[in-house]
Amino acid sequence: MADIRDAVIIGANRIPFARAHGAYAKASNQDMLTSTLNGLVARYGLQGAQLGAVAGGAVMKHSKNFNLVRESVLGTPIASNTPAYDVQMACATGMEAIGSLANKIKLGQIDSAIGGGVDSISDAPIVVTDALRGIIMEANRAKTTGQRLKALAKIRPGHLAPQAPGVNEPRTGLSMGEHMAITADQWGISREEQDELALASHKNLAKAYDDGFFDDLVTPFKGVDRDNNMRADSTMEKLGKLSPAFGKDLGDQATMTAANSTALTDGASAVLLGSEEWADERDLPKLANFIDYEEGAVDFVDGAEGLLMAPTYAAARMLKRNNLSFEDFEYFEIHEAFASTVLAQMKAWESAEFCREKLGLDKPLGTIDRSRLNVNGSSLAAGHPFAATGGRIVATLSKLLHGKPGKLGFISVCAAGGQGITAIIEGR
């Protein structure tokens, strides 16, 4: 890949993530993404700049937001001749946006880009029933008032119940937590290790905030200046008192609680990327290079593989392609959809059987050094506004690697639909 130029991660911005139906209850996806972009523009002086592209998306999206990213860009001082488009790959939306933009930069198609994502549980679209929608569409098609009234007369009280947005996997009817509970049980992940991971996430995130690590990564929004899901004072005792939230039908074997599962949150993130030349021209910092990324997907529908295990497969292919092993990485960022997601992925990579049977490897991928894992906290503490998580992770990892030229960082993000993305970032 000698002819391909570097895709440089210049910087990032996000708004603090806020627990659903709280501080951002009245903010729309567009409000949050616009504010995030405005913060990024302000940090890097991008007022009036024409960028190669802005890409991102939201998992929970209103139909009126069909052009969410473009509309958001138009609300910022970024030049209006900057193209923008929506991307969607469930919880991996942000990673997919950033990864594909990095590729365009590498290929020389564009010189600069912003990738990111946003999600709001609080402002999620509520949809009418199919039956009511059918009647309304029929009335809409009607040519006479009589026809219209006839169509509308079919409306029954039952039609009026709103349909909450689907958070369950469409093909299994299981929530993500229920899926993860099955995988956690299969891998024998204990309650204690999950609680420990959750606790570390809160402590690490809180310390990073106190150290000012996020001073140039986060811009407050609506009076929130830190992720408000964060509980710096959490303890194993407090976590141990919670009763299981998922996998309750496992009885005593249920291990997943509200604390070792990510809370529903609202938020947005954005990452600024560019070619080396573009960054230099505008006197912008160069935190890290976006080296490579890999998408993965598994057959989870009939339980052949765990819903959130796709990154294990993607990682194997990505590492092989780059001739790397886990020992080559300085930091690991594994998205904490649930504590057990991180633990199950790591156990899978440690398992000779799994690596042989499922990943087709001679030997296990190996053990990830816990002291290098999610060192500045992850989704359990920060929260996980689905499409915004990729940007949060790329930002944190890039800053960690800045000033460590050549040191590598590994990213794993699982996603609904049995998908996932892994990525490699190199410090500079």
């Binding site: 913060g39 009036g48 006197d283």
Partner: protein, 452 residues
């Protein structure tokens, strides 16, 4: 921001009649600076016969002003520059003072009186110093007599300084212009030949890079705006918690936002890193960030006292040490070095009940500035302070109505100033044309009755 409804009312036809007949204060609509507007409209009369007066008249002519030595009894006068540099004894003041006095009734609204005299402190001769102090006292009192938004201020020339020094031109222009709208009864001292006049007076900060702390809102945001308008590129600093407003302020002035708690040990390093990365230079530092934690001293607790001292002065001292130790902030270009402008307060001059901590910190700023000028001089730089009086801000909007109304009217201009008035003075002191002025605390208070 608080709305000064009274000033609006007075400036309406009916309002003027009513308030005049009731003998109420007559706050005028002040002439404020607009880059595209003429410096001042109407005749500018130079009073006094001396080389300094001749030099000043010559300078004013280069600005295409209608410069006169005398004026007819019916003519309106835009400004009078009264030069007293040759006054050797108080009795010598008489001629020029009376000539000046004869023209005051012809002075236009928002007119200007500028007195020019030698620095009293730079002579040990009692008679000479008495004469110079006399000019000062006359100016200060005259300021109280000014009407319709007109002001009276002085330029204090250092003993050896010739009036052709760039600093004199800079000060004259500042005092004649709308930049000094809310400045009255004040003195701009020019003590060195340093300074560089701009190619374009509409962009006196062209190519300059400035950092403003506390820039998210209020006076700080206004300073950033004025610096930008004057041509500077601006780094806006505020605490991370104020980041949303900071980003908006930065985007408005096409600057860059730096979220930073200035009390951090590495605050100055972070500012230098940011300036180096994004601009490759740093010319101006405006220490605007400040907090109040009011309490009578009898009820004062450590957090209130210590936080005010830490934010308002200790952080500035610490940052200045690092900034002045850096190469980035030590560059001299066209004979002009780094410039620091710090925000003091009239509370620090006159004191204010309930503000022992705040007044201590602001007095401390003035101390830092007066002592710091020697340090900066070695780098051809300057350090000055601006002490705002009653300014219409979010903070003063929270004052009780009665207190606010009294505070507003208790000055020679009978109104509160605007954040932009403070910003204009900061921008002036930060400009290369003001490089001859250092160690000064300049009040932007409409000559508030409280204090000196």
């Amino acid at each position: 921001m608080a709305t000064d409804t009274y000033t609006e009312f007075v400036n309406s036809g009916l309002g003027r009649k009513i308030t005049k007949s009731l003998g109420l204060p007559q706050p005028a609509k002040l002439r404020r600076y607009r880059p595209e507007a003429p410096l001042i409209e109407g005749p500018v009369v130079v009073v006094g016969a001396s080389e300094v007066a001749d030099n000043i008249a010559a300078r004013l002519l280069t600005w295409d002003l209608d410069v006169r030595r005398h004026i007819g009894p019916k003519e309106k006068v835009a400004a009078v520059v009264a030069v007293f540099d040759t006054a050797a004894t108080p009795a010598d003041l008489s001629r020029n003072v009376l000539e000046l006095g004869g023209m005051l009734k012809q002075l236009k609204p928002s007119g200007r009186v500028i007195t020019v005299f030698r620095d009293p402190e730079s002579t040990d001769d009692p008679t000479a110093r008495a004469a110079r102090k006399g000019a000062e006292g006359m100016t200060r009192s005259l300021a109280h007599e000014m009407r319709a938004g007109a002001t009276a201020n002085g330029i204090v020339l250092h003993e050896q300084l010739d009036a052709t020094a760039p600093g004199v031109a800079g000060a004259l222009r500042y005092l004649l212009s709308g930049r000094s709208a809310f400045v009255s009864g004040q003195f701009v001292s020019v003590n060195s030949v340093n300074g560089q006049l701009p190619h374009d007076w509409a962009a006196p900060l062209q190519d300059q890079v400035a950092v403003v702390t506390g820039a998210a809102r209020g006076i700080g945001a206004s300073i950033a705006k004025v610096l930008r308008r004057d041509g500077a590129q601006v780094i806006l600093v505020d605490v991370p918690a104020a980041g949303e407003a900071l980003a908006a302020a930065a985007n408005e002035v096409e600057g860059t936002a730096l979220q930073l708690d200035i009390t951090r040990d590495d605050a100055a390093e972070r500012i230098l890193d940011h300036a180096q990365q994004h601009y490759g230079r740093l010319d101006i530092v405006v220490h605007n960030a400040g907090i109040t934690r009011d309490k009578l001293l009898a009820n004062m607790d450590a957090p209130r006292w210590d936080s005010v001292i830490a934010v308002n002065i200790e952080s500035q001292l610490r940052m200045n040490r690092t900034l002045l130790g850096s190469e980035l902030f030590s560059r001299v270009e066209n004979g002009v070095g780094p410039r620091i402008v710090s925000l003091a307060s009239t509370s620090g001059i006159a004191g204010n009940r309930g503000q022992t901590n705040y007044a201590a910190s602001k007095s401390a700023v003035m101390g830092m500035v007066s002592a710091g000028s020697a340090q900066l001089e070695a780098r051809h730089g300057t350090i000055n302070a601006v002490a705002p009086g009653f300014i219409e801000t979010e903070m003063t909007a929270k004052m009780p109505l009665g207190t606010r109304e009294v505070a507003r009217r208790l000055n020679s201009l009978s109104q509160g100033g605007l954040p932009v008035d403070v910003a204009e003075t900061v921008a002036f002191l930060a400009s290369p044309s003001a490089a001859g002025t250092s160690g000064l605390t300049l009040r932007v208070c409409g000559q508030n009755l409280v204090g000196a």
